[in-house]
């Protein structure tokens, strides 16, 4: 059994859901509904727009290979987030590079600008990039919980299901991560 099939088995219901799914339309619906969430999850690790999009595409290609079993999936969102999370972590492991984006302009382009002018956006993007570089120095368990908690669509329960742990564990990891991050920020003396 491959790793992907193992993931698939983990997210299957004990009994198939009663609702019959039209497979030809299902993947397109999944793309329309979850691609942005998956992109944000991928971007939280890669910090690179092109790599994040490529990871999302690879996620759906993997789903396509197992589309015959789609109607057995219990929770599509958690399942898809789990797949894209594994994809980006695999890539990061293979690349052996730090997940940071040196191109501030590219980074600023991807962030929501709101009503601010271009200079403000660039400065805040640099500050965010520095903070996220410090996030990468956190222990992996705390870092993963913190990054996933940043994705607005994911609840604590979903993050806990993704990381195979409990909600209280996730909350304590996030608390520890924020506390350590604040210490690192003070040490680095980031402009306040």
């Amino acid at each position: 059994m491959s790793a992907f099939e193992g993931q698939l088995a983990g997210w299957m219901t004990a009994a198939p859901v009663a609702k019959s799914v039209d497979k030809s339309q299902t993947i397109a619906q999944l793309v329309a509904e979850y691609s942005t969430t998956l992109y944000r999850v991928a971007f939280s690790v890669t910090r690179n727009a092109a790599e994040a999009e490529d990871a999302v595409q690879e996620t759906f290609v993997r789903v396509l290979k197992h589309e015959s079993r789609l109607d057995e999936i219990r929770d599509y969102r958690v399942w898809l987030v789990r797949i894209v999370w594994n994809v980006v972590l695999d890539r990061k492991r293979r690349a052996k590079t730090r997940p940071e984006n040196e191109d501030v302009a590219d980074y600023a382009r991807t962030l929501p600008s709101g009503e601010r002018n271009a200079d403000d956006v660039a400065i805040s993007s640099q500050e965010h990039a520095r903070i996220l570089a410090l996030v990468d120095r956190l222990p992996s368990r705390e870092r993963e919980a913190l990054l996933l908690s940043a994705v607005q669509e994911l609840t604590t329960a979903e993050i806990a299901a993704m990381l195979h742990t409990t909600e209280s564990s996730i909350r304590s990891r996030i608390f520890r991560a924020r506390r350590e991050l604040a210490v690192l920020l003070e040490k680095e003396g980031i402009q306040r």
């Binding site: 993947i27 397109a28 793309v31 329309a32 691609s35 942005t36 992109y39 944000r40 971007f43 939280s44 910090r47 727009a49 994040a52 999009e53 999302v56 595409q57 759906f60 290609v61 396509l64 290979k65 991807t110 962030l111 929501p112 805040s124 993007s125 500050e127 965010h128 903070i131 996220l132 996030v135 913190l146 990054l147 908690s149 940043a150 994705v151 607005q152 924020r178 991050l181 604040a182 920020l185 003070e186 980031i190 306040r192």
Partner: protein
């Protein structure tokens, strides 16, 4: 105290802002279309029949592997047999075995070659033993008067009338 709280609040605000920024990034326009295009390409690639060359190659690879493994095994066996049949240069040939014609049982089937004569051979007049003790009369050893002797070893004086 108030300063610490203010600093902590500011740090929390910065962390929240960075996390909010990363958690609300928007993908480039048209991402869904690109994903669907790639999925269509992947689907069409999966639907294409396997080419005949690929099919032949798929069958040929295991066959070639089996054939090469058999060849290697055969070479090993032949070389091993040849090596075991070659006599060692330092090895003495075993005595000839006389095969008796018309033996009955297994014990009488093979007999070693009998010696030419079972009777002992008498020694001739010139024959002598393997070693000869050159002793003087009365069975005593004779020592030359100027024999080199080890220092500190006393030798008895030779009697005057004894033969040299």
């Amino acid at each position: 105290m108030m300063d610490d709280q203010r600093v902590q609040t500011e740090l929390d605000g910065q962390i929240d802002a960075a996390l909010r920024a990363i958690g609300s990034v928007a993908p480039a326009a048209g991402m869904e279309g690109r994903i669907l295009t790639r999925l269509a390409e992947a689907r069409s690639g999966a639907d294409q029949p396997v080419r005949s060359t690929h099919r032949v190659f798929r069958f040929m690879v295991p066959l070639a592997g089996i054939a090469s493994a058999s060849l290697v095994c055969g070479v090993i066996v032949v070389a091993s047999v040849n090596h075991s049949h070659r006599p060692h240069p330092g090895m003495v040939a075993p005595p000839p075995i006389l095969e008796m014609q018309g033996g009955v049982g297994a014990a009488s089937a093979v007999h070693p070659a009998p010696p030419a004569s079972a009777a002992p051979v008498p020694a001739g007049p010139a024959a002598r033993g393997r070693s000869t003790h050159k002793t003087a009369q009365h069975g005593r050893a004779r020592i030359a008067p100027h024999a080199k002797r080890a220092p500190g070893v006393a030798l008895p004086a030779t009697p005057a009338g004894s033969p040299q």
